[in-house]
């Protein structure tokens, strides 16, 4: 569906040129011209004051019978038999989509000895569980999991698949979408149903979090997306819920797996907890020197929270990349997020804006972080944090 300008109608106002997020419109002979960089997002159509820009409907050669595909699937990612929270978060959100579509919600469980998770998956909202078990799934591998998920898709034909945008989810998702030949929207932060088409409307940040894009997958099935951990909440489990478990045999041969996991090296506990933490204390450039990061660690410790870092701090080598919160780092959604000496660049905010309460400490009262903070202190982090640690300790010992 290419977007075209009708030169007869174009008045040369250039409104579309500045509205185009991709810089794909240029002026030629006083008329707007859409270049190859166009992604057909339609931002220009909305701003054109004379309606000179329109979408051209193009024939697609898609042989898929879309009506055969039914149901919303949630991929339940597990590590060593422990489900990651994101699967349960997506069951809660997937339930809403499935109800709106009048279809059923299924959980996809692939692993070794994972049937003990079925009770929890039902309790979190699934009607059905597709269960594939075997030794070949004891650790995640691209090949074994791709073969299995693709096989389930071909056999049971879901309309929608939701996956967590974790490292493994973002490894598996594109591989499966590529094999099935369907659309995958990465790293979504919001989901809904597009009222005009009934399709899933996948919303995600782009351009470093500067803009949001809502994406549809009209002609291919399943509609697939990876969704960031911590942007949706889990529902309270209802253990009276049960459903049908469909056991499917593994089609994976050991020779299909071209990677071998030799060893897992775990980092410190703090980093491991970042995505599941209820309290996070993050430090930024305002700390001025790497040694000052100890203050962040101390504050996190008295609060019983995890430690995070801004990109500036990671780029400067004060902290390993595992601690980075933001668009290119981790997405977190704790109950409380302390941003200490972090200006609040849009790239950082993209990784923590779903936190329940944001507390900002920065000496610049104009820092953008204060715009999204629930509580703020304008002051030098080097003075404020030690005072804060003292005050918290006082309250804790008194309580």
């Amino acid at each position: 569906m290419a977007v075209k300008v009708n030169p007869e109608e174009c008045i040369g106002c250039t409104a579309c040129v500045s509205a185009c997020p991709f810089g794909a419109i240029v002026m030629e002979d006083g008329k707007a011209l859409i270049t190859d960089a166009c992604t057909a997002c339609g931002a220009c159509i909305d701003v054109c004051p004379v309606g000179a820009i329109h979408r051209e409907v193009e024939e697609k050669n898609v042989s898929m019978n879309k009506d055969e595909f039914k149901g919303v699937w949630v991929y339940i990612e597990q590590v060593g038999g422990q489900a990651r929270n994101v699967g349960y978060e997506l069951l809660n959100e997937g339930r809403k989509l499935a109800d709106a579509m009048g279809q059923e919600l299924a959980g996809i469980l692939i692993g070794d000895n994972v049937d003990q998770l079925t009770k929890e998956v039902f309790a979190r909202g699934a009607d059905t569980i597709y269960l594939v078990e075997g030794k070949e799934f004891s650790h995640y591998s691209t090949d074994a999991y791709t073969i299995t998920l693709t096989d389930l898709i071909h056999t049971y034909k879901p309309a929608v698949i939701l996956m967590g945008a974790t490292n493994d989810g973002r490894d598996l998702g594109p591989r499966v979408a590529g094999r099935v030949g369907t659309g995958l929207t990465a790293d979504c932060t919001n989901l809904g149903i597009d009222p005009a088409t009934g399709l899933v409307a996948w919303t995600r940040p782009a351009f470093g979090g500067n803009i949001m894009a809502t994406i549809l997958c009209p002609d291919h099935r399943p509609q697939m997306g990876t969704i960031r951990p911590n942007v949706f909440k889990r529902s309270a489990p209802d253990y009276s819920r049960t459903g049908e478990i469909i056991r499917v045999d593994s089609k994976v041969k050991m020779t299909d797996i071209r990677t071998k996991l030799l060893e897992i090296i775990r980092e410190g506990v703090a980093s491991a907890n970042l995505e599941e933490a209820e309290i996070i204390v993050s430090g930024g450039r305002g700390l001025s020197k790497p040694e000052s990061f100890a203050l962040i660690e101390e504050l996190a410790e008295v609060l019983g929270g995890a430690v995070g870092a801004s990109r500036a701090v990671v780029d400067a080598g004060w902290k390993p990349a595992l601690y980075q919160v933001g668009q290119t780092g981790k997405t977190v959604g704790p109950k409380v997020y302390f941003a200490c000496g972090i200006s609040g660049a849009i790239q950082h905010v993209a990784g923590m804006s779903s936190s329940d309460i944001v507390i900002a400490i920065n000496k610049d009262p104009e820092a953008p972080i204060f715009k999204i903070a629930n509580y703020g202190i304008v002051g030098d982090v080097m003075e404020v944090i030690p005072a804060l640690i003292d005050e918290i300790k006082k309250v804790k010992t008194a309580g």
Partner: protein
Amino acid sequence: MDIVVCVKQVPDTTEVKIDPETNTLIRQGVPSIVNPFDKNAVEAALQLREKYGGKVTILSMGPLQSKEALKECLAMGADEAILLSDRAFGGSDTLATSHALAAGLRKMGKVDIILCGKQAIDGDTAQVGPEIAEHLGIAQVTYVSKITAVDEQVIRVEREHEEGYEVIEAQMPVLLTVVKSINEPRYPTVKGTMKANRKEIPIWTVDDVEVDRDALGLKGSPTQVRRIFTPERRVQGEIMQADTAREAAALLVKRLVDVKII
């Protein structure tokens, strides 16, 4: 060893600002750069060549101005660079892009290692790498933070994971996507830049590669952008009004006790 690095020219999104009046992106004056993670991939390729010998080729898909990005990679020390550029590729989503790049890679013949940055900073999808590996039918390892050993059959790498690192051995040929911590990309030397300026960068159009045209461009893109908008920001909260840091801290702690955080 034949190594190909897939790179993308992107607007420097850290320089992109929103016009508060129109709520649209201000692109004027925003420089076009080599996607930063792709530079890490180029550096990783150069280090592999230094250790094991062979050839490093850069492959990109994009408009003709992407040649600038390819020149920068040549100036860093890559041997060759090829640009896939054609109207037929315009408007591609990740799947259509991966089909075009995979077609380019097939035309190159024998490739041992394909390197990509973990994601591009304009789209942030991290999907094109795995989709290329799928079309070529080869193994992949994503989020690679270290390449420790390579021989003709296997490559040993460390992969970044939520809880730490995994040590993985993958069969060759392989596609790796790399994270920033893998290395510090070198700067182009003056000599390298001069050499790069003299170097011919072949342009491959859709007619130069074997590919199903229906898999390319807008036509081959299953996903469509429906709407673009600027994210909403939260309303202003409360700034602790106090004369000293200690008073401000005490006030904040009181608020946190009130809302039962402490």
